[in-house]
């Protein structure tokens, strides 16, 4: 017979203790034991143990768990009340420390929230479409001049190919890229982006319909407007079935639907949709010829079926193409297709002919890093401040320990204290965010909305930041307090090996981040200044560019130029084929170098002879062409310096240039002059080799008119508008100030710069606060030492230097770590520019000087006080 067990197995006992309230324990354990012993005898150990386990687990039920008495928590509540009381008294006693703490945290949280808002906005692009995960854009790749170029467009004929045989495709839709259009309703003309799309557009993408349905584009000559465009056209009238025209081309369109304005976080910016009428048949030429490819291409989106394999679809499409083109031919052109998920389009690197709005992943990274830096700095700063603050509370800590305060309670106290500060700071930062939101929109991202704060991603991210902030900021001080001995607590000293090392590590991290930020800001500001001041080769002040309507005729152009010149204040007028900031023709030009015919692709500018004076270019060699000389028409070429180098000419003037050798004599000409390099693109691009020539037979209407003015723009521009209206009634004049245009082009950089400046400022401020309080704390700890030093003959300067040196040492190590990091980070950013500043040693020196100045300023106060210490007062304290 087996002996009765006198107690339950250990695991069961533990489990039961965890579940059962103390006052019920004995009875339950007894009953279980009795039951267990009987089962042991009847069924053996295994079975008894198993039964015991289920029996014990049975106590995990509300009827038992809720019988835990509430006496213990209520005691805890009292303690917690006491924690808050002592913290409150501490705040009253040391107001500066507390204000620093809250202000630092609030500033950091505010900046973090801005970062979170920005980043989550950038990441939210195109994710509002219901099936965005199944929607892809079909991109294409082609070999061009030996390099594989990626295009965001696809021959439009691909669309109908997908209609049959592609089992992975649920539906597809195409968009034909076109320029902006004028919509006319009665007398009202409104400019907007009108794009032809397939009627399946609304099956693929999700839009909110105010009037009409997703079938709105099925009927021909229908048009779907966005809400704001409809309001501009029709005011408060009902827009449905109203008839309007586009660009006066004679076709009438009836409004069949109105959608809500397309959300800001969409890469597709469109004001109106019309049915796509093109029925291109696919031919091999559309892949082979660069011109035909671009002419026949549009944007193609596919929506794949649930669970479809994108890879399979791509290979199927390529196989289908091989049937049309032939495998070898396709391989020769390097033509291939790829799928890009809809949600990736906005932030991925730009492709050729891509439609339409692009963000920049670099800025998302920059902002994320800035956010991370801010979090770390805020933590360190808080730890430094609370270390200094808790030092004056060490006696309180000691007494708590003597009276039996547990370690877990100490952690709880520090955590609660930290949490309270964090929550107060959070409230303040929310108020700041709300009040400053208009400025944030202006400087960072105009499309940000305050309502974004309550979106799930943002709430989750802010929550995570709060947890991280509280956790880190509470853990380190709590660790210090726990490990300090009671005797030291009561004496008010913290001595423990390694503690100061932790302090130095924090200081080091703080310095590294600060120096990195200073360095980054300096480089960015130098690059921004460089962009704004770099000589573009043209005089961009007081220069207007007018864009003509599509049906503007040559005769009208001639009379427009005449009339513009007669306006007081207009000094030069020129019409040209290129648009400032990009938009050239390109063609192959060949010269005879003696050995061979050298062919180079040049960017073409067709222009009248007033271009050079109007833009303010310098003629370096030869002459410019003259519209009065019949021989110059189409045959006199002016090239820029880059083109001279590209063609490899020693004496360019007088050299024959041949284009289109298949039509000999027709397109040839002579180089008559060389002008300086002009950069009519943004500085993200290199200067292109350029050939300037008169329009063919002088009769070609070029759409862009450059007007140089001398005088008050506000009075001259209305005059220009009036002249234009006389010639092209019903169309508003589209114009840009070239200077404004460039400033607009660099908006992303300018915004990033402003934000970086602000971020750096916050980081420096927080660092200064942290260093200040830490140095005060350290100087107080070493006061006695300073006193003794003074007695032994040290001077005040000596002591002050010694104190500052402690920080300087760390700052020097930090500079060594931070400068290479900054160099690498900034090299990455500068890589986006074709023309950029060098990262030189002088900048590095400036950064280090700023960092050292920061140390001296923030640690100097405590050092000065330490130097001025009266030995009598400090040495005899306990």
């Amino acid at each position: 017979m087996m002996e009765d067990q006198s107690s339950l197995p250990r695991w069961a006992e533990r489990l039961l203790r965890a579940l059962c309230p103390e006052h019920l324990y004995e009875e339950i354990e007894g009953d279980l034991l009795q039951h267990y012993n009987r089962k042991l005898k009847q069924e053996g150990k295994r079975s008894a143990n198993r039964l015991l386990f289920f029996n014990v687990m049975g106590y995990a039920r509300p009827g038992i768990l809720l019988r835990h008495t509430v006496r213990k928590p209520s005691f805890g509540m009292a303690i917690m009340g006491n924690y808050f009381l002592t913290s409150y008294r501490h705040v009253l006693r040391d107001k500066v420390n507390s204000i620093f703490k809250v202000a630092g945290l609030a500033l950091a949280l505010f900046s973090m929230m801005v970062v979170i808002l920005y980043v989550s906005f950038q990441l939210s692009f195109d994710r509002y479409h219901t099936d965005y995960k199944r929607i892809y854009r079909v991109n294409t790749g082609r070999l061009e001049n030996g390099t594989l170029e990626q295009y965001g467009v696809t021959p439009l004929a691909f669309g109908p190919m997908l209609a049959s045989g592609f089992t992975d495709v649920e539906t597809y839709t195409r968009l034909d890229v076109s320029n902006g259009s004028h919509l006319r309703y009665n007398d009202r003309v409104v400019y907007g982006g009108v794009f032809p799309v397939d009627s399946t557009w609304f099956d693929v993408f999700t839009y909110e319909f105010i009037h009409g349905s997703r079938r709105a584009l099925v009927q021909s000559n229908s048009i779907v407007l966005t809400e704001s465009l409809a309001r501009k056209l029709f005011g408060e009238e009902d827009p449905m079935q109203k008839v309007l025209t586009i660009n006066n081309d004679g076709t009438l369109y009836a409004v069949t639907a109105v959608i809500k304005d397309i959300p800001d976080n969409s890469h597709i910016r469109v004001d109106a949709f019309v049915p796509l009428r093109r029925t291109d048949n696919f031919s091999a030429q559309q892949i082979m010829s660069p011109v035909d490819f671009v002419e026949s291409a549009g944007v193609l989106f596919v929506k794949l079926r649930e669970g479809a394999d994108p890879e399979r679809f791509v290979s199927q499409l390529e196989k289908t193409l091989d049937r049309y083109v032939g495998r070898k031919q396709r391989a020769a052109t390097g033509f291939g297709v790829s799928l890009q998920p809809l949600s990736d389009i906005y932030l991925s690197p730009p492709l050729k002919y891509e439609f339409t709005r692009k963000g920049s992943l670099v800025y998302v990274y920059i902002f994320s890093v800035l956010g991370l830096f801010l979090l770390v700095i805020a933590c360190i700063n808080y730890i430094n401040l609370s270390l200094a603050g808790f030092m004056s509370r060490s006696r309180e800590m000691g007494v708590r320990k003597v009276l039996g305060g547990k370690r877990s309670q100490m952690v709880m106290q520090v955590t609660l204290d930290t949490l309270t500060y964090v929550l107060i700071a959070l409230a303040i930062s929310f108020v700041m965010l709300y009040l400053l939101f208009p400025s944030i929109q202006q400087y960072i991202e105009p499309a940000l909305r305050f309502s974004f704060v309550t979106s799930r991603t943002v709430v989750v991210m802010i929550g995570m930041v709060l947890v991280a902030l509280t956790g880190i900021s509470a853990a380190i001080p709590a660790g210090w307090f726990m490990s300090n001995s009671v005797a030291n607590d009561l004496r008010g000293v913290y001595v423990r090996d390694g503690r100061l090392n932790v302090g130095n590590t924090l200081l080091l991290v703080q310095f590294v981040i600060s120096i990195t930020c200073i360095g980054a800001t300096l480089t960015v500001s130098r690059q921004i200044a460089f962009i704004h001041n770099k000589d573009l080769g043209i005089d961009r002040q007081n220069l207007l560019v007018l864009t003509m309507a599509e049906d503007f005729t040559t005769d009208r152009m001639i009379s427009l130029k005449e009339r513009l010149k007669s306006i007081a204040g207009v000094t030069h007028v020129s019409n040209s084929s290129f648009r400032i900031g990009g938009g050239y023709w390109k063609d192959w030009y060949s010269v005879d170098t003696g050995k061979e015919m050298k062919s180079v692709e040049l960017y073409e500018v067709f222009s009248d002879d007033a271009l050079f004076e109007t833009l303010g270019m310098t003629v370096l060699q030869g002459r410019v062409f003259n519209a009065q000389q019949a021989a110059d028409s189409g045959a006199a070429f002016v090239i820029n310096e880059t083109a001279v180098r590209a063609l490899g000419l020693a004496n360019p003037v007088g050299t024959r240039i041949v284009t289109h050798p298949e039509e000999p004599g027709r397109w040839e000409g002579t180089i008559v002059g060389v002008v300086n390099d002009i950069n009519i693109n943004t500085l993200h691009h290199k200067i292109q080799p350029l050939v300037m020539r008169l329009p063919w037979q002088n009769r070609y209407p070029e759409y862009f008119v450059y007007v140089r003015i001398d005088g008050h723009a506000a009075t001259i521009i209305p005059e220009i508008k009036r002249v234009y209206q006389q010639l092209q009634p019903g169309y508003p004049l589209e114009f840009d100030l070239v200077d404004d245009f460039y400033n607009h082009e660099y908006e992303a950089e300018n915004r990033a710069y402003t934000s970086l400046q602000f971020g750096t400022l916050v980081i420096l401020l927080l660092s200064a606060l942290g260093i200040f309080s830490l140095s005060v704390y350290l100087s107080m700890r070493r006061m006695k030492e300073f006193g003794i030093r003074k007695v032994l003959g040290a001077t005040a300067e000596h002591i002050a230097c010694r104190h500052v040196w402690h920080f300087m040492r760390v700052a020097m190590v930090a500079a060594g770590v931070a400068l290479p990091i900054t160099y690498m980070l900034m090299g990455e950013w500068l890589g986006a520019f074709a023309y950029k500043v060098d990262q030189d040693a002088i900048s590095a020196v400036i950064v280090v000087i700023i960092a050292f100045a920061l140390v001296i300023v923030s640690a100097g106060y405590a050092a000065f006080r330490a130097g001025a210490v009266n030995p009598v007062k400090v040495i005899n304290t306990v």
Partner: protein
């Protein structure tokens, strides 16, 4: 509050407390349920029911003797209160009243 009401399991446990008298403690009650009613029961269910009955005032408890089988742990002996007894009785009578409504012939007609 309306009339007090006991669930089926509560009624069984309360009846057993009344029946076992001096020997009414958790393990014994559970054992009786297994033996007499031939149904599986977890000890925890019996305990929870006992505590609930005590909360409602139908039983009282006091600590009782320990045995070696229990490893020296004391028992908690439950005693039915007069309120418990009255409730048990009224429930029994109500049950019998309902039973009387069933036409007795039906069983014989089968």
């Amino acid at each position: 509050m309306g009339r007090d009401f006991l669930g089926e399991f509560e009624e069984i446990v309360l009846t057993l407390v009344a029946a076992l008298q001096e020997d009414a403690y958790g393990a014994a009650i559970a054992e009786q349920i297994v033996q007499r009613l031939e149904r599986e029961v977890a000890l925890s269910a019996v305990h929870v029911t006992l505590y609930r009955l005590e909360d409602k005032g139908y039983v009282t408890s006091s600590t009782g003797g320990a045995t070696s089988e229990r490893g020296g742990r004391r028992k908690r002996i439950y005693t039915i209160t007069s309120a418990g007894l009255a409730l048990l009785k009224s429930m029994k009578e109500a049950r019998i009243g309902l039973w009387k409504m069933v036409p007795q012939l039906k069983t014989t007609m089968k």
